[in-house]
Subunit: 279 residues, 2 copies
């Protein structure tokens, strides 16, 4: 995601919350785009793709593997995350990729540069997502595709319903709103594309899910959230600043996530909105 990236302590190493972000790939986070990408690749193997708000770069790198004769550019607002993204590409031996700093509101590219422009969990965090979509459309070639996938945080459902996990949900929604974001992004994505000036007939809307329920998934999820709650990210600092939590709350919530991870009946799921816009 474009925001919420704490400066990494060691350049090239993931920040605390990256445990969770780095399970993201094109396959699990851009599945709605992949059939179209495959069709486009068949007529032009040299596709160029822009991943906006690339973060740790795991989605960008998996896109680069899918278009080995094409080229991927990842941008993120936070320059401190770029070394980590480059390290992920190097680890995976991916060469057809580059990362640079940039804002989704003012992308550092000429009009009609990319065949495909994508973002994931970016619009949910920003104040005027339709402006971001308009900017993404600007840098996309005619006949190209703008694709986005954004969570609908209000649909998040957790079982068992431990009281501290409810508190955590409210904290995260509160932080998102306090930062200018939109917890109901998923359901609003279509309306934002229309507001960016696109016709309804150019847009394909779909919905998908993300979830954690196997023992290993529960551990990844719990550890990622506990790392954030116990420090290592700006979550605590921001929660205190906005009056959304007290010091004692964070440890209680972390313990609840640890309890959740141990339970066989536990799961966490959320709905995501997805659009493909034909320019």
């Amino acid at each position: 995601m474009e925001q919420d990236q704490a400066p990494s302590e060691k350049p090239g190493h993931p920040p605390a919350q990256a445990t969770l972000h780095e399970v993201r790939t094109a396959e699990n986070s851009a599945a709605h785009l992949l059939p179209t990408l495959q069709t486009m690749k068949e007529s032009n193997p040299h596709l160029t793709l822009l991943d906006v708000g690339a973060g740790s770069g795991t989605i960008s790198v998996s896109f680069a593997k899918l278009i080995p004769d094409g080229h991927v550019t990842g941008v993120d607002l936070n320059p401190n995350i770029l070394p980590r993204a480059r390290a992920v590409a190097e680890r995976d031996g991916v060469k057809n990729i580059e990362f640079q700093q940039g804002s989704v509101y003012k992308l550092p590219f000429a009009d009609e540069t990319f065949d495909v422009t994508f973002c994931h969990q970016v619009l949910i965090h920003i104040g005027t997502p339709w402006d971001a979509l308009r900017e993404m459309l600007r840098v996309t070639k005619r006949g190209g595709i703008v694709a986005a996938r954004e969570g609908d945080y209000e649909t998040e459902c957790v079982w068992p319903e431990l009281p501290e996990l409810r508190k955590f949900h409210k904290l995260m929604a509160g932080l998102m709103s306090a930062g200018g974001g939109t917890p109901t992004a998923g359901r609003q994505l279509l309306s934002w594309a229309l507001k960016a000036g696109v016709e309804r007939s150019q847009i394909t809307l779909s919905y998908s899910t993300s979830s954690y329920s196997t023992p290993s998934d529960r551990n990844i999820c719990s550890q990622g959230l506990c790392d954030q709650l116990r420090g290592g990210s700006r979550l605590r600092e921001k929660a205190l600043k906005f009056g959304l939590g007290a010091e004692d709350d964070f440890e209680e919530m972390a313990k609840a996530w640890e309890e959740w991870a141990k339970r066989d009946d536990a799961s966490l799921a959320m709905l995501h909105g997805e659009i493909l816009v034909q320019k």
Copy 2:
């Protein structure tokens, strides 16, 4: 669904709310089961499948098409829906199918009768869903599969957020609870299977979505809901009985659904929980 079926005015014709139910197929409502069903069919083309709470039978009929050398049995608690289910099978020229009356709590079959036992939007409506799952397991052969898909109504997200649509959501959740059902069924499905005596290692949990957003989907959805709100189903009668709505409310909600259907930015989506249980 097993409950909420009003007697059909004309036998073999769909009741009002069936407009919505009859878009259901194995492909859109049992996708999590289909790869396993295909594998099972390859080693045994003569599979037997039980669809519990078959309703209008559209899911059962599409299962029967997928296992042409197998056989499908659909049961529903409401005998008045069975002529419609048989009419759907006849319309589609499907012969390897039969429908009969039966309760999910006391299925009219011997132990270990079916290779696959399935239900969709049944457990969400009943008081002790783990008993229903135990009964589904009983009639399933060793080595067979019990599969279920249940909505999580609390995750339903509608855009635009018209006040009357919020009221409608509350009404439906209230009716479900008043009738002994569980609006958060999707997230609880795994816990119900464990309560039915199954080990976690036998269960595969996944989540999927249903949604309406294209103009034709919006019309189907709006018409189905307006039919229910304006009569032709037991919704009004039950809402009045449980004190969940007044006569004036129903028409206002119906008008809101009509307005919703006309809007280009409109969508409706919901998360569903899905399990496969290996017996």
